[in-house]
């Protein structure tokens, strides 16, 4: 069964997140729709404030108390939005797991690694303590923690950052989830350890057939393991397509500009980088029309007048969606287009 016809594991539909603040309401995510199939990894990329983390915190029911969520997210046939904590806890950590950027603050400092992995196995699967410990050991070995039997009885502070992130992944996998949400899982790690963790996530996805959302600001990270990519800007998806489509022939000027502005390790160029001018917009004062308009080389009156909606694959070609009045023709490579 190819990925394209695999059943949808997580279906996010028209999700919006608004925060009520003393200074008025703030729209963090607007009309976010994404279906992730079994065995598929979708990279969700964007800069700080683009709404990538908030979208998935909404799916997990982990948003701050002043957030209002509308739209829908379904795990199989179960709806996730608007459920109370007890109901959500039937899925969270079981069918739906999440790992975070900072592996130190996400682990409990006063429990051993073994206890923290076993906790969810005992709670959700009703295993005995011995069975849970055996499974914890097996999980640590699966995520390639060295010297796993000794690690079971160690505390988080005794482990390196890379080892802690492996423990986080082991906890997330403890109940064999259908969906894994990884929020900047390698951002706090050294580049050599990042490569190890990404290789591990790619293996786990392949072997377990999990659906995975990989949230990152690094287009290089998604290039290695994602099948599809959603690019977000100012709370909206501006481009969605296969990793080849989006990274090799971007249609949205923001995607192209982001790719061109990244210095690459395999680029011997020494001249100035084609930087994107200006700043990401303040979500309280979004420009009229296209939010990227003020920083876009192609923007015209139409872009300032009307916000382009995300035009789906049926209107363009293949599997691609783009929200732009003047999409690039997609045949040029990003670095040549500047």
């Amino acid at each position: 069964m190819s990925q394209a016809d695999a059943p949808v594991a997580l279906d996010i539909d028209q999700l919006s997140v608004v925060f009520d603040t003393p200074d008025g309401s703030l729209a963090a995510v607007n009309d976010f729709s994404l279906a992730i199939r079994r065995g598929e990894c979708v990279g969700v990329v964007g800069e700080s404030g683009a709404g990538k983390s908030q979208s998935f915190l909404a799916v997990m029911g982990l948003l701050a108390a002043n957030a209002r969520v509308s739209g829908q997210a379904r795990l199989g046939t179960e709806s996730l939005i608007g459920r109370d904590v007890a109901e959500l806890n039937r899925f969270r950590g079981v069918k739906l797991s999440m790992i975070f950027q900072d592996p130190m603050t996400s682990l409990t400092p006063h429990m051993t690694v073994g206890e923290q992995i076993a906790e969810s196995i005992i709670h959700h699967l009703g295993s005995s303590a011995e069975a849970a410990r055996a499974r914890a050991l097996a999980l640590l070995e699966q995520v390639q923690v060295t010297d796993a039997p000794r690690r079971l009885d160690q505390y988080p502070h005794e482990l390196s950052g890379g080892m802690r992130q492996r423990v986080m992944i082991a906890i997330a996998l403890a109940c064999d989830p259908e969906v894994l949400i990884a929020d900047e899982p390698t951002t706090a790690l050294d580049v050599t350890i990042q490569a190890q963790i990404l290789a591990l996530l790619a293996t786990l996805k392949r072997e377990r057939g999990m659906a995975m959302a990989l949230i990152t600001h690094d287009l290089g990270v998604v290039a290695g393991i994602a099948d599809r990519v959603a690019v977000m800007y100012a709370g909206r998806v501006v481009e969605l397509g296969t990793v080849h489509e989006v990274l090799k022939a971007p249609k949205h000027p923001y995607t192209a500009a982001l790719l061109a502005s990244m210095p690459r390790i395999d680029d011997a160029g020494t001249g100035p980088l084609p930087a994107i001018g200006g700043q990401p917009p303040n979500p309280r004062r979004l420009p009229s029309g296209c939010a990227f308009g003020p920083r876009c080389a192609y923007a015209d009156d139409a872009c300032r007048a009307e916000r382009p909606s995300l035009i789906g694959p049926s209107s363009i070609e293949g599997t691609r969606s783009v929200a732009c009045h003047h999409p690039l023709d997609g045949t040029r490579h990003a670095r040549e287009s500047t």
Binding site: E47, S48, S160, G162, M163, D190, V191, T192, I193, Q194, A195, Q196, L198, A199, A202, H217, D218, L219, G220, V221, V222, A223, G224, I225, A226, V243, H244, L247, K248, A257, L258, L259, S261, M262, P263, R264, I265, D266, D267, A268, G269, T270, P272, L273, P274, A275, I276, G277, Q279, P280
Partner: protein, 333 residues
Amino acid sequence: MTEPLLQLRDLRVWFPVGEGLFRAKRNLRAVDGIDLQVAPGEALGIVGESGCGKSTLARAILRLVRSSGGQILWLGRPIEGWSTARVRPLRRDMQIVFQDPLASLDPRMTVGEIVAEPLRVHARDLSRAERRERVVDMLARVGLPADVVNRYPHEFSGGQCQRIGIARAMVLRPKLLVCDEPVSALDVSIQAQIVNLLQDLKRDFGMTILFVSHNLAVVRRLCDRVLVLYLGKPMELASTDLLYSQPRHPYTQGLLAAVPVPDPDLQPQRLGGALGGELPSPLAPPSGCVFRTRCAHAVAACAAAAPQLQPVEGGHEVACDRWRDIGPYGATP
């Protein structure tokens, strides 16, 4: 060659740790035997993983941490033993830009006061008007309008705060600018703006840059030469061209291979070649070559003696006894 701006001879920074009633004193060798010459106008990158000693090395050069041994020669004069008071006038010529753009600016000072402070300390003969003019000029140079002088750091984004930090460091026109991870906290689209700004400043003022970074792609873009550190020791030193096109040290090769490229045709294979293992404890570094525990090419001899930097060609130096067998691209032995 013109006289080096800066020379390091066997520079060491050791931190005593773990001293207790029943425990012997041990030394954490953060920087352990660095020899280096930096020419005026050169941009030297210092790279390596967290804990390799790159920031400590930069701070030792600025005399922000005390070195434990070896020499620091500034324009030919050894300054490592100088008192703080004696070093202070030199600071006019050596400035630093830090990683966290907001945390490195005093929240209670206006941008104008922040950028003027180095002038108040080091250029006391300037009148208020002259000082203001220099501040506004420098702010314009880093891309900020004159009206920012009366505003406070919290009103600015990370990228703008980093411009303010660069203006503060540059307002004295230092000979040496140390940049400690200056773009690591910034968003991708802002990183490129700051990299371009540093390139412009280097070209226009002819200053020397020490660029400490774990971001090897940014270093390739900005630096003329690169020093690779591992557990406080030099692994490889080469021109940027040679280091990136023909890396000789297995550590450099592994480090370069680990950097992701945004190309789905290349990146999945690159992941497979990731360097294994983790940094050993700096309190118990491996004997001999400190990198040998993660090195695919290590042989028994590597545990016996620590390899010294040895010449390859054209100023390219590598601290590996097996570099001739390994080849420039990390082919298997």
